[in-house]
């Protein structure tokens, strides 16, 4: 039955279906997908919900109690948030090597939540006005 339907489908539709199958199968095993899965496993429920809704999540620095917002991306994606919820300063620090966004964000979370002073000491500051969606790759 399925074979009959498959053979009757136009070649273009079959090609499209094959491409979609390939994308779904291999898409789940890409470095990006693995990074996102790892990040999701290590976020708190609140952070996970925030990330699902906004593509960012907040963490509290372990030394100062400051709030930082980690956006989806691999560079210039951490902002210190003031009491009114605005970006007060940008901080750029990343794990060395070319890691996928999920991994970079998880390393930034762990660093700020467990060794904030060291992370901020090595980070480069940038004014929050330079923050733009163009800095970030589109996620899933």
């Amino acid at each position: 039955m399925i074979a009959a339907v498959w053979l009757r489908a136009p070649a273009r539709a079959r090609l499209h279906a094959l491409r979609e199958l390939y994308r779904r199968f291999f898409g789940e095993n890409t470095p990006d997908a693995r990074g996102r899965r790892l990040l999701a496993e290590w976020l708190s429920p609140a952070q996970h919900a925030q990330f699902e809704q906004h593509r960012y999540f907040d963490v509290i620095g372990c030394d100062t109690g400051k709030r930082y917002r980690i956006h989806y991306g691999t560079a210039a994606n951490v902002h210190e948030i003031d009491d009114e919820g605005r970006a007060a300063m940008g901080w750029c620090f990343v794990p060395s090597g070319f890691l996928v966004p999920g991994d970079v964000m998880l390393a930034q979370k762990v660093a700020l939540e467990t060794d904030e002073s060291a992370a901020i000491a090595l980070a480069n500051r940038f004014p929050p006005a330079t923050h733009s969606e163009h800095f970030y790759r589109r996620p899933f």
Partner: protein, 73 residues
């Protein structure tokens, strides 16, 4: 089974080992030392979303995460 998760360009590489197996435990400890010696940071989960950094091998940690040395971007 316990797991050591090492971030890399494939997303991550996972090393599973039986903490009750002395030989496997020794291998895991050696891996821990090699990675932290190479500049990786190690952390494990203490609860949902809660993490603790560790500087020495913890044989009771169920899941240990390693990420490469941080640099200013």
């Amino acid at each position: 089974m316990a797991t050591q998760i090492v971030m890399d360009q494939t997303g991550d590489t996972r090393h599973e080992f039986d903490p009750d197996n002395a030989e496997a435990l020794a291998r895991a400890e050696r891996r821990f030392r090699e990675l932290t010696g190479a500049g990786f940071t190690a952390a494990y989960r203490t609860g949902p979303g809660e993490v603790t950094r560790i500087k020495s091998f913890d044989p009771t940690a169920q899941e240990t995460l390693f990420y490469p040395r941080l640099v200013g971007g």
